[in-house]
Amino acid sequence: MFETGVSGFLSSDMRLHISLTFIITITASCGTADSRKIRGISPSYKRFYRERKSFLCIDGSKMIPFEQVNDDYCDCEDGSDEPGTSACPRGRFYCTNLSFRPHYIPSSRVNDGICDCCDASDEYNSHARCQNTCWNLGQRERAYVEGQMRTLDEGLQLKQQLIEEGVLLWREKQAQLRELQQVAEDLQIKLEEHRRKKHEAERLREQTLKALGAGDSSVRRENGSSTFNFLDSNKDGSLTVEEVQAKVALVHDEERLLSEDEAVALLGGGRLMDLTLFQHTLWDVLTKADSVKIRGSLDAAGRVVAEDLEASDGEWEATNQKKVEEAYDTVNMEISDLRKKLTIDYGPDWEFLFLNSQCYKLKVYEYTYTLCPFNQVTQRSTAGADVSLGRWGMWAGTPHNQYSQMVYESGEPCWQGGSRSTTVTLTCGTETALRSVREPSKCQYIMDFQTPVACQPVLKQRGIHSEL
């Protein structure tokens, strides 16, 4: 009961509105002498159509008797004598559309059997049964505009957040860049250090070779320490049985590994030997005895030692250096990548920055489309693999708002030449999503992409009749 009461109240209210509209329309029509005359004219043009003896075509080209205005015959070149009929090819008819938007239609749509004005005023002499739908349209329009406004408000708020996030992101990225640059610098220093060391090692090696070649004992002594270093695999400053076994061999007719006892013997019966002891005992054995060699030596002992020296020390050095070089390259790549990303225009407030590294998908019929903004667009059929519909090209919006459209170019080639490309139109919405994909011509894709960051603070509100 209560509900019915409410709805009854509402509908009577609506009826009131409608009848009010009618009354106003009728009074407006009766306001001038002849309702025929007023047809199809906007309020701002009414001054040209004041009842007089004659009518001057608005372009001033011709004077005609006033009876010939709206008499269904075109007298004026500019069509101004027939605003209410279909007689003039270049004429236009003004739909008042009370409670909706007024607008002009071409005269050719007057009495053509199709309802164009929502107030039905264009079909005053045809078989078309047109309803006055302005009020409904107005309601819908208002609801729509309100919705749009809400979306816009919400969108702008979100945009503000995203701008802030964007700024943060921008700073973060900048910081990241700086950090990376710092890392790069460090790495460079390290690399230089390594290079210096390598240089040193090479120099050392040459010296060793020279010393060995000359048989200079002082050099040999020095070299004794470096041989010790070489044998001391774990670099703890003393040689162990295992270290000796690993790098010293017995030579008879052929090379043979040392047994543990033999190694212990070489270490002077102990299990450990420091540098000083080494220089006085084992070093002599190694340089003078023919039967004990550093492993791998079949040649003149000194040379092999030198090579082995380089191989071990150098190997370790080289691996390190390579690692540093790789790290350096990676960092540099990251830097250039980041720089490239940062050179893209993300809008005046970096509001589009957050889209970078995101991807958005939409399934249309049998295809799934993926838009990765500032990167690429791809299409995947239910069966097949990814097809590139273009890589990031540029902003291509209107001069007024260049951020309203993006172009992705040079995708996979097409059968008839050329390559696939995608134009993405950005519209204001409360969430970021791919809304539609079309392919109006082969290989030319059009996407609608909705995101709060496309919301523009000044949305020109289309005028709705507020007169009622």
Partner: protein, 950 residues
């Protein structure tokens, strides 16, 4: 091995030719030359000379309507039966068949609208050399000469046409195969036996062999055998990888026609060539074999999508026609004794009084069937059109909307696409009547279905169009996807309606849907069933504003020989070879019938076809197939449609903009300007081309295209009247100038300009970057008015017209009255009740005539309910009189304006209507152009009235 290389050599050459040819052009290697078509090669090897055929006068039988006579080939003794009829309307029919064929030979059914009514033939004289028969009218006679056989059609002392005068009558009689296994066994055994015998006999009697050889009887037999020797390709023929089993062996027919005094022949479409046919001595003959030719080339005699075996011959005195009723592959050779002569040479002949009169010789060669030829004796072009129309019918009268503008593309992708294109036309204020859907609208190329996602609610879409008074065309091709989940396929298969392959199974070929069957449209029961599929409850999603397009109906078979069907496929008792050129004709026939039936016989159908044959005019429109966005393709659209119009098919157009490739903006604009003045006006584009809806090329070009389309719409009353006229008389709508000026040789070869009806002359701009065109304005004592400026020009002159990008040179003939509706609206239906403006163009005698035709625009009620009035201006009186007092129709349309071109200023103008009311009309006179405009006379367009200039 030798044989192998010999055989491979041409294949190699072909292969080379194919691989060397450019990327953009027809792949000529896919299509046969005369040399590659064995019957053409065999027949063309026959040179003019004395015919081996003799008329056996003693077998002559003459009834009131028919003469029959046997012919004998003296070489092989095979007898033929000649039938000769005199048909009503000055037509002679000559039929030649085997007297006793081994099996029946195919005679083309369904093309003639009825058994042509005959008129009495009478014998004038007869002796042992021949017979003379009277053809009744104008001392016309047929002379049948006996030895050798020939026919001469005379008028007075003048020979109008001779048949077999060059001795090229040839008739490959049906025969038993002699190279079959059993035949070979017997003949080989026999010859071995002969040899053995010979060896023994020569030992016994050395003279015996010699004696045998000189035996005259034996000699004759050898001669006969030589005559019938088996040539390559008689019983089997291979083209590329396709073999034609030819179980019936050779069956070609051929006949020559001589046309004394004729230098201009026209017709035999469809070829992408000039209006005036060329001589073919130095190349291939013109070929008639319906083929889906990918990216066809221009100015050559290659076969295209359709075939109308009708040729017109014309000179300043007379027009005649030859209708060769045969649906098999056909080649037409044309030679001329003046061809190759320079103008100077011809002048020399004239000065020196050369005895040789110009003559054109024509020779028709068909692969099977019989010779059945209709000789249309004119004498005027319009007589020939009437004669041909009396045989095959006239142009179907289309719904008015079909005469408007059509927007097509392969493809409009989904309903949303259709809606937005439709809205685009309104937004840019360009009228259109039909939007088209190509193959992609279907569910997997299953015709009669809709893609469930892209066209999920077709009725909603169609209703949306209907609300705007617009319509749609959806494609329905004749290849049917082989798919047991497809209703159409299952029904056709279960009814055994498919064409069969040579082994009796359902023929399957490859087309858009993949493997496809081809319904046998030559069967009347199949066509009835097909028609029933267009019922609203059968064709789901269809509505009354949905019409049909039949494409690929040559038929196109992607993996078949020459992209079409194997000739040994079977249509019941007949081979595809016999019926090939008829297939597309039948498809359109059945489809049009379906559209008629779905409305209970009330609504006029509209069906577009790509393949066609003689008589196809009765079922709808044709277009020139898959052309290209090139200037030459724009140019050739004129002769191609003119040629079709001459043989009855008036409703012709070319894809505006060009199908393949993408037109420059200038070309697109020029194409719209040209297409707006051709009967079928449809823009179309290939799937791979960028979009080209009229508003996509900037506001200036949108305006130019809008203007061209609007000119079309203002002229719709005139166009519609032309269609009505074509429907009533068979006269072409788009006409070569010579049709109206048959005595003016300057018009005979013109094909860069044309007439619409009698009264509008159009010289479209078809040159890139043109600054001007030179139009020939015919008529010695005539004047022509530029329809845009109203400027008057004298006839019989070449007029240079400076042009800009907005120019479409169009002239109205002085002496004519053309009705227009200048309130151009969204679609033709929206303009239904609009008032008329009459354009009265005065001739030097200050008279003019025209017509006004009005009906409901879409139903068959036009047969009784219409307005047809004669408008005439003479002695300063313009009047409208009823041409059809028995017809009933009333219109809301009225006369809003009368524009008189070439007028002088009256002092007053009085309108008198049929109710006796008199009123004075306001007027405006432009003295600089002599244009008098009468303001708002206001009378109803359907009543009698007079307007008096005083």
């Amino acid at each position: 091995m030798a044989t192998f290389t010999e055989r491979m050599a041409p294949v190699l050459v072909l292969w080379l030719a194919v691989s060397l040819s450019g990327t953009w052009a027809v792949d000529k290697g896919n299509f046969k030359t005369c040399d590659q078509s064995s019957f053409c090669k065999r027949q063309r090897a026959l040179k003019p000379g004395e015919s081996p055929y003799r008329a056996l006068l003693e077998t002559m039988e003459l009834t009131n309507t028919r003469l029959t006579l046997q012919l004998i080939n003296d070489n092989n003794k095979v007898r033929l039966l000649l039938e000769l009829y005199r048909l009503q309307g000055n037509i002679t029919r000559v039929k030649i068949n085997e007297l006793k064929p081994l099996k029946l030979r195919y005679e083309v059914p369904d093309v003639l609208i009825r058994d042509p009514p005959t008129e009495p033939l009478s014998l004038l004289s007869q002796d042992e050399n021949g017979v003379v028969l009277s053809l009744g009218a104008e001392s016309q006679r047929v002379i049948v000469s006996a030895r050798p056989f020939r026919l001469d059609i005379m008028e007075g002392r003048e020979v109008l046409m001779s048949l077999n005068s060059r001795g090229l009558l040839a008739f490959e009689h049906l025969r038993m195969r002699k190279d079959t296994f059993s035949y070979k066994v017997t003949s080989t055994v026999a010859s071995v036996w002969d040899n053995i015998k010979r060896v023994f006999s020569s030992q016994a009697d050395p003279e015996a062999e010699k004696k045998e050889e000189t035996d005259p009887a034996k000699q004759a037999e050898t001669a006969k055998e030589e005559e019938e020797k088996v040539e390559d390709g008689m019983w089997e023929e291979t083209f590329k990888s396709h073999s034609d089993s030819k179980p019936n062996g050779p069956s070609a027919v051929s006949l020559d026609f001589s046309l004394p005094g004729v230098e201009h022949v026209y017709g035999i479409p469809e070829h992408a060539d000039t209006l005036r046919l060329k001589t073919t001595e130095n190349g291939d003959p013109y070929r008639l074999y319906n083929l889906d030719v990918f990216q066809y080339e221009l100015y050559n005699p290659m076969a295209l999508y359709g075939a109308v075996p009708v040729m017109l011959a014309h000179n300043a005195q007379r027009t005649t026609g030859i209708f060769w009723l045969n649906a098999a592959e056909t080649w037409v050779d044309i030679s001329s004794n003046t061809a190759g002569k320079t103008v100077f040479g011809k002048m020399l002949d004239y000065v020196q009084g050369s005895s040789e009169t110009p003559q054109t010789d024509v020779r028709w060669i068909s692969e099977s069937g019989i010779i059945d030829v209709f000789i249309m004796l004119g004498p005027t072009p319009k007589d020939v059109f009437a004669q041909y129309a009396s045989l095959t019918g006239t142009q179907a009268f289309p719904p008015l909307a079909a005469v408007g503008y059509h927007q097509c593309r392969w493809n409009y992708n989904d309903q949303e696409d259709v809606t937005s294109v439709d809205a685009g036309f309104d937004e840019h204020d360009i009228p259109y009547d039909y939007i088209w859907l190509d193959i992609e609208h279907t569910d997997g190329k299953r015709y009669f279905t809709w893609d469930p996602h892209k066209f999920a609610s077709p009725k909603e879409m169609l209703q949306g169009l209907m609300d705007k008074k617009r319509k749609m065309v959806a494609i329905v091709d004749p290849h049917i996807k082989v798919d047991t989940n497809y209703k159409i396929h299952n029904e056709i298969r279960s009814r055994s309606f498919y064409i069969k392959n040579k082994d009796g199974g359902d023929y399957e070929g490859w087309c858009w849907p993949g493997s496809a069957g081809y319904p046998d449209f030559t069967r009347a029961d199949m066509r009835d069933w097909w028609a029933s599929m267009f019922a609203y409850d059968q064709y789901e999603g269809s509505m009354e504003n949905l019409y049909t397009w039949n494409d690929m109906n040559e038929p196109s078979v992607f993996n078949g020989p020459e992209v079409t069907m194997h000739k040994d496929a079977l249509h019941g008792a007949w081979e595809h070879r016999d019926v090939h050129n008829l297939y597309g004709f039948y498809v359109q026939m059945a489809t049009a019938e379906g559209l008629i039936q779905r409305s209970g016989g009330v609504e006029r159908p509209f069906v577009l076809t790509r393949a066609f044959f003689a008589g196809s005019q009765r079922y709808g429109a044709v277009w020139t197939g898959d052309n290209a966005a090139e200037w030459d393709h724009l140019k050739v659209s004129i002769p191609m449609c003119l040629s079709l119009g001459l043989v009855g098919i008036s409703f012709c157009g070319a894809d505006v903009g060009g199908f393949f490739k993408s037109p420059s903006t200038e070309l697109l604009v020029r194409w719209y300007q040209t297409g707006a003045y051709q009967p079928f006006f449809r823009a179309h584009a290939h799937l791979d081309t960028p979009r080209r809806e009229p508003w996509l090329f900037g506001p200036e070009n949108t305006a130019l295209i809008r203007e061209a389309v609007r000119q079309r719409y203002t002229l719709l009353p005139y166009w519609y009247q032309q269609f009505y006229h074509a429907h009533r008389t068979g006269q072409p709508i788009m006409r070569p100038l010579w049709v109206e000026y048959p005595e003016d040789p300057a018009t005979f070869a013109l094909d860069d300009e044309f007439l619409i009806g009698r009264d509008l002359l159009v010289h479209p701009v078809t040159e890139e970057g043109a600054r001007g065109v030179t139009a020939y304005l015919p008529g010695k004592d005539e004047v022509w008015f530029d329809v845009h400026t109203f400027q008057k020009h004298n006839g019989a002159q070449n007029l240079y017209i400076p042009v800009t990008i907005s120019s479409i040179p169009v002239f109205q003939r002085g002496g004519s009255i053309i009705p227009r509706k200048i309130r151009v609206r969204r679609s033709s239906s929206c303009m239904m009740h609009d008032p008329y403006t009459l354009y009265v163009a005065l001739n030097p005698q200050r008279t003019a005539e025209g017509e006004l035709y009005i009906d409901d625009g879409h139903t068959f009620n036009y047969e009784k309910e219409f307005i047809h009035r004669r408008l005439s201006f003479a002695n300063n009186l313009l009047s409208s009189v009823n041409l059809a007092p028995d017809a009933q129709f009333s219109t809301r349309s009225w006369i809003e304006r009368i524009v008189i071109l070439g007028a002088s200023k009256p002092s007053k103008v009085i309108l008198k209507t049929d109710d006796g009311q008199e009123s004075q009309l306001e007027f405006d006179f432009d003295s600089s152009m002599s244009v008098l405009t009468l303001r708002k006379p206001g009378m109803n367009a359907g009543v009698d009235w007079n307007v008096m200039l005083q």
